[in-house]
Symmetry: C2
Subunit: 504 residues, 2 copies
Amino acid sequence: MPAETAYTELIRRSKELGLIHSCSAVLGWDHQTYMPPQGGTLRGEQLAFLASLAHQKLTDPQVGEWLATVEASDLVQDAESDAAANIRELRRAYNRATKIPPALVEELARVTTEAQQVWEHAKKTNDYPSFQPLLQRVIELKREEADAVGYQEHRYNALLEEYEPGTTVAELQALFATLTRELAAWVQKIVAAPRQPHTGILTREFPIDRQKVFAESAAAALGFNFAAGRLDTTAHPFCSGFGPGDCRITTRYNPRFFNEAFFGVLHETGHAMYEQGLPTEQFGTPLGAACSFGIHESQSRLWENQVGRSRAFWEHFFPRLQQTFPMALADVSQSDFYFAINAVQPSFIRVEADEVTYNLHIALRFELELALLSGDLSTGDLPGAWKERFQALFGLIVPDDARGCLQDIHWSFGGIGYFPTYTLGNLYAAQLMAAAKRDCPSLDDDFRRGEFGPLRQWLKTAIYRHGQRYQAGELCRRATGFPLSPQPFLAYLTEKFGPLYGVC
Amino acid sequence: MPAETAYTELIRRSKELGLIHSCSAVLGWDHQTYMPPQGGTLRGEQLAFLASLAHQKLTDPQVGEWLATVEASDLVQDAESDAAANIRELRRAYNRATKIPPALVEELARVTTEAQQVWEHAKKTNDYPSFQPLLQRVIELKREEADAVGYQEHRYNALLEEYEPGTTVAELQALFATLTRELAAWVQKIVAAPRQPHTGILTREFPIDRQKVFAESAAAALGFNFAAGRLDTTAHPFCSGFGPGDCRITTRYNPRFFNEAFFGVLHETGHAMYEQGLPTEQFGTPLGAACSFGIHESQSRLWENQVGRSRAFWEHFFPRLQQTFPMALADVSQSDFYFAINAVQPSFIRVEADEVTYNLHIALRFELELALLSGDLSTGDLPGAWKERFQALFGLIVPDDARGCLQDIHWSFGGIGYFPTYTLGNLYAAQLMAAAKRDCPSLDDDFRRGEFGPLRQWLKTAIYRHGQRYQAGELCRRATGFPLSPQPFLAYLTEKFGPLYGVC
């Protein structure tokens, strides 16, 4: 078979897989938003059917033959070509899917389904011992998965590859070493700072219907295209890009806490604009898909924090916010509000963490899951290790496992290797924003006028349009001129929190 | 291969097809309810992919071999057995799917997609000539379809078989001959009757939020299980049973017309309770699927009209309705309300028709589509033929084609043979209700107390639990003791409308 034909067949198959995944995405969205309580069993069967169909179509031996034919041809000689990028990513997906034995896939599905149920109950009842045997089993299976996939240096690299291809334990360890040292110092300084924000203004009454209108108007102003997407309500907010023309985001409203829905919507809007900005004509192929979990998270964090927690952003939005919530905010100044939404406060829960402490939560998890996977840490010793390291990093004593090692769902679904992508997202976001401001010096002025088109345009050029043409590190280098570094993020913290708290 | 193995494989394949269809149903529901405007292209591709997958899996030559193996075995000797019913219906589906050439399927899809778009515009602009060439093409293709499927006596029988297997043109002609004669006489009597209802009370202000609450409470009282379903809003109301545990209904609210949403919800609730009552364990096989379009419609009509427009029903609900809409109904008596919701008024639009005139609308369409298919009527002559027959049946002059032969979507999507199932539904509904009342003499008393469980239980036993075990005619005979007849329906009209209008 000529290489051109093999490539055409591969692209056709890839697009078919894209359609199957997009069907699953619709079913998954409905599951979280509108599905009635008794619909769960059928939905599980539907999703399992589609997952199995996709797995069959990906692991089809013909796919392996097509890949080999194209890889041996001229088509991929130019590493910059469309074909080279598509083949690189299809090969990666094919290898993962074919190397993991079906029995292991099934066992992982079975165990993680049970583990999630047990975890949910264990978290509610602060009962780590009930979860431990399942976590133990998940880790054993993830070791088997890593061994099946193959890796260099560290088993964890095989798992990391699922979320952040091209990134290694060694790189992450270097990043986290710097971050941990610098952030722990920041926490100490800020906790001791004489100036502290009045965060009570954020826990006044914020009627939900008004929050909804305000959040939607902000999402639209940033650039979320509501003709090609929706905002709905769920218990656990998410963004799901079905494909061209349809991207759904969700949030949850707390009538007595402003931050939860609003910054959640900005976060999901960042994810969504990336999905909405991917090249439509490449849908279903790697060139039409988001680069990595870390880059995806960089987009949500950039709009949530770099933009949405900036002074310039609120110069535009605060007068509108005051009009929307006169009861809560009539007596609040813009600078007090700005300080409050940027409050830094060491706390036990990752998802509630501020910009300074957030990455310390991730550093802790990365360190522990690495030790769990290698066997240096046993699941029996996890709660103790968590408490010990938490105290060292945050200076706080963890009161119970529910607010400790049981707080996150990730390990129960087998998402070992997932957490670091949150920190990568924060670092990429800061580095991208610094580069965008370098390239477009008027961005802050734009924000003050409620104008976000120039930043979006910069991101489209730097990130969105490339899909998976480059791996994350290379994409960052091309977009910013430099490989990923913690320095832009640390410089951002210094510039922002130094003056706010009167520390340096 | 042993027949048992072949049968097991067939059932497995059938269940797989059931899952694919249920995925399509979720996507279709979302399309009508929440999909953003730009999501249409992707949704079309997703649905086309699933339809093509289902077609492949159904027309797989193995299915033909399995069928032949089972059909030649003892498994189907007992015509009453599960296997006999499943094989009968799988054979029918397989034959239809394999006999129609793929090129014809594609051409039908292409032409009907275009025809629906053109029809929508033609209806808006009252422009039949723009639609005529497409209708012409649809009819030609439906002739080809009928010829490919094969038939006895009349081509139309091949199309009918898609909606109402086992029913024939000859039977329908006999039914409609009686109905047309009797109903036309009823119309004349009622139009001339001295007593007439005050229908203006139904077009007062009915706030939408209150309509929603009231309709939901009525649907729940009838027996719609909201833990296994939802009610949403759409432009074109429908019921979609995804499968066990999940059935969605929709309606549309008119703030100045009570009937539209309320009776629409009762109608869809009737469809939905059938879906919710099908045997869960048979999901995906013929024994777990609704019997026919006519029987499905009988369930909606039974709850909408036989129950929802009965005096006993409103003895329970009217006081609650008055409380819900005090502004609109404080000065209205229960008997005036009851008369108003049972107003008979010849009109041009089928979907707005009352119980007496509705089947005349269907008689007209059946007669004309039969003539179109046979070639006795040309598409060019359709508007004239419509007007002529309409005047003969209703005594009204059709003012334009938008209120004439352009009003329904059915012909544009190729649904020739669909209309008669509406009348079959009305007739089955009356015959079933008469039998239910014979078997449970206290039903009217139950309704007066807002108690609908006994009727639901009767329907579960008579209809729901059988799935497609029997064809519609046989199901009716077993449920009621008699073959389908127009007499129960005509007796119902006499008993209800005679006293109401003071005619006989």
